[in-house]
Amino acid sequence: MLMTRLPARSTHAREKKAIVTGAEQGIGAGLVEGFLTAGYNVVAKSLRASWSLSSSPRLILVEGDIGNQESVVKTVHAAIQHFETIHVLVNNAGICRTKPFTEFTTEEFNALVSVNLLGFLHMTQLAVKQMLKQKSGRAVTITASLADNPIAGVNASVSMITKEGINTVTHQLAMEYAKEGIRFNAVAPRVVDTQLHKEPKDPLEITADGKVSERARHC
């Protein structure tokens, strides 16, 4: 359990508040722990937020599908209700499928767009509305190095439509809101070893080749 040993609050990030999506496992669970350790209060949003996390006065859990606008509204309202401000939004929720380009179905395309793009859109729009009132804020989104740097044999073409979309909108929003004091950045991992968190195997994770852990993820 992540919450069994709460670290002492550090001073530099005192009273800061963050929202982390896709919080239930892997990078998301690590982000929740990292932000708590850095002294943030956190609203953690995911399909099954309570699965690996326990709520506390500094950690609010919201369950629901990121692609569902209602659950996104619930998340942002929880942050405002409990913490009054949103300093940082971390858009971590995302899915990735790898298969030959010709085999991607419309349903898979729609699922990728729903989670990776609509989830980003709804969550970030609501957070930015709050950040505009505060006249400051920042959003960090997890994308994928694979979007700009494809690897022969890792067939993620349609998934990367959404990840490259996130890279582009990050550039656009950085300029649109520069004067309002809101920053937009992205982090693009390649392969991340998520074994340390011992989560159940995610069906959306992929294996690239013999050198890569089964639990590693490319995007």
Partner: protein
């Protein structure tokens, strides 16, 4: 870099961007240099 990135490597990058008040519009690759070329 001869090893996979860890979850902590990604968390460190996100926390950096959360605090770096002069950085915006950036896509920060945390991939052991893979985006820079073959090694």
């Amino acid at each position: 870099m001869g090893k996979l990135a860890s979850v902590q490597d990604i968390v460190d990058a996100v926390l950096y961007l959360a605090h770096a008040c002069q950085v915006t519009g950036e896509v920060l690759h945390v991939d052991g240099g893979a985006h820079a070329g073959r090694w």
